[in-house]
């Protein structure tokens, strides 16, 4: 068994592995830039909360349409957007800040989702929703993930400049009439879209893992905004690849394997990345 056989064998041999890999590629292309912006805008935990918030929507779609992709995706997007909008409303109209109002709504949402699934489905279905099933990804799901990635990249190209300014100097954007609120909402919509695409593969619990971990790790390799996005996508895809290989050979569930590989990449970056890592700090202080 050569290294080639170990690494590429499973993909050469099995169609479902190839589809899973392509799915990971599409996911990585969308999640990379979005995750980078989430990290930069200090919205990392909000991304996590959003990923849990999509559960009742997906559950409702599942109840009404079975394990149907369009139904669950539509439901997930709906739920995610509702949570984002409601917490935005509460933040704007009451003294409660965004983090608390988001936490409140996503927890309500999550509990609702778990309730719905346990009432109407078997435990296996709940596991699928929570943990994903990337190996069961079919062509329809691939098309969805690919479409989401394309839409995300195109939209980001359009809103890139106002998004950057909205993070960097929101006062300036307001002063020149740049419609910061619209950009923020548009960005949230993109996050929800990518999370819904991700939960097919990784489940709602960990869909955000492929967004956040590579973006956090990329910080220790490159500095500029667009290179951060590219590095995040690259790391996300690499995590997908090695996670799938690992899960294949060791018989582990693939969703958590992918996210754990991303986690290892993050730890390695924190410890020994070229920029501002622990190693760099240690050598700087000597």
């Amino acid at each position: 068994m050569t290294l080639y056989d170990l690494a590429f064998g499973p993909f050469a041999e099995f169609g479902f592995m190839r589809r899973a890999l392509v799915g990971c590629l599409a996911l990585a292309l969308g999640c990379g830039p979005i995750g980078t912006f989430l990290v930069i805008r200090r919205m990392s935990l909000m991304g996590d909360a959003l990923s849990h918030a999509v559960l009742p929507g997906a559950a409702l779609g599942f109840i009404l349409g079975g394990l149907s992709l369009p139904a669950m995706s539509l439901g997930g997007v709906g739920a995610g957007l509702v949570v984002a909008l409601l917490s935005g409303l509460v933040t704007r109209l009451t003294p409660l800040r965004e983090d608390a109002s988001f936490a409140a709504f996503y927890l309500i949402s999550l509990a609702l989702g778990v309730l719905l699934v346990s009432l109407h489905g078997s435990n296996v279905d709940l596991l699928h929703l929570l943990f994903g099933s990337i190996l069961a990804i079919d062509d329809a799901a691939l098309v969805l993930v690919g479409a989401v990635a394309s839409v995300s990249l195109l939209s980001l190209a359009v809103i890139y400049r106002p998004l950057v300014v909205e993070c960097f100097d929101p006062g300036f954007l307001r002063a020149v009439g740049g419609r910061g609120g619209l950009v923020h909402t548009g960005f949230l919509a993109l996050v929800v879209l990518n999370l819904v695409a991700g939960f097919q593969a990784l489940g709602t619990l960990m869909a955000v893992g492929l967004m956040m971990l590579p973006a956090a790790a990329a910080r220790f390799w490159v500095r500029e905004l667009w290179t951060l996005s590219v590095a995040s996508s690259a790391l996300a895809f690499a995590s997908g690849f090695f996670g799938l290989v690992l899960s294949y050979h060791l018989g582990l569930p693939s969703g958590p394997s992918i996210v754990l590989v991303a986690g290892l990449a993050y730890l390695a970056s924190v410890l020994c990345g070229p920029r501002d890592s622990m190693r760099a700090l240690y050598f700087r202080s000597r």
Partner: protein
């Protein structure tokens, strides 16, 4: 009464609210075109709120703020720093290029001419060669120069500056004041919130002395007299309810600081022990 063609901003009996409370009331007057006005007053006088109102970011709760004849350049507004993400991965030249927003908008291309304009602006603030530096590596003074370069690029008829010289070293202060005077010479209308009254006396022909309502508005040497300053301080003392019991503090504006309401004590994290009885 709409403003005469010689005025850039007209305020009619303006009341501006902040956080639900009136921050400024009964402000009437005008900034004539090409004027250079310092806006001074104790802390809490509503100066920042006034700036926001004039920049169009805050709608008056009462009264009218009218802009006349602004042309294509619009209004350039420099806010106080609080909201800028200093560690953001953006370079100096990218920040300055944002000044072209009216010409490029969300996704318009930046051609060579716009880029050269930005570089010239950087040169004029003394930051030639800093174009590619990330803004996180700049000192406070250098960063303020970058923001001024952005203002230069905006090429606006009306320039509103909210505390442009706060937390900046003396040398940068002088350089930036010279830029402001230059704008004045170019015929632009400039208004700036200042805390250093000597700078106002040295560089600004007009001053608006504010203490939630106008105390005096006119030529600086007529406005910044001890009598007016005392009156402004006295007015500011009434905001926090403290009066003559205050100990005298040097300088016209320290009283404003002392008169500011005390922050609430931080909530204790442990249950206080009862004095008598079991501890």
């Amino acid at each position: 009464m709409s403003g005469s063609p010689g005025s850039a901003i007209v305020l009619q009996n303006v009341t501006l609210a902040y956080d639900g409370r009136p921050a400024i009331h009964h402000l009437t007057g005008e900034f004539s075109r090409g004027s250079l006005t310092a806006i001074a007053g104790p802390n809490g006088a509503g100066k920042s709120t006034l700036m926001k109102g004039m920049a169009g970011l805050l709608r008056p709760a009462d009264g009218l703020i009218q802009h006349t004849g602004l042309g294509g350049g619009g209004i350039a507004y420099l806010a106080q720093h609080a909201e800028i993400e200093r560690g953001f991965p953006i370079s100096v030249i990218q920040t300055v290029l944002l000044g072209h927003w009216r010409r490029i908008g969300w996704a318009g291309p930046v051609n060579r001419e716009l880029r050269e304009e930005a570089h010239r602006a950087l040169d004029s603030v003394g930051l030639a060669g800093f174009a590619r530096r990330p803004i996180g590596s700049l000192s406070a003074g250098q960063f303020q120069r970058v923001l001024f370069a952005r203002l230069i690029v905006q090429d606006a008829e009306l320039i509103l500056l909210d505390e442009p010289l706060a937390a900046v070293d003396w040398r940068t202060s002088e350089d930036l004041l010279r830029l402001i005077v230059n704008w004045h010479r170019e015929g632009r209308t400039v208004a700036a919130v200042l805390h250093d009254l000597d700078q106002a006396r040295a560089y600004f022909p007009d001053t608006l002395l504010l203490a939630r309502e106008p105390v005096a508005w006119g030529p600086t040497r007529e406005v910044l007299i001890p009598q007016n300053l005392r009156r402004a301080r006295h007015m500011s003392e009434s905001w926090s309810g403290e009066g003559e019991n205050q100990r005298p503090v040097p300088g016209p504006w320290r009283a404003g600081l002392a008169g500011y309401p005390e922050p609430l004590p931080a909530p204790s994290l442990t249950v206080p022990r009862s004095r008598g009885g079991e501890g």
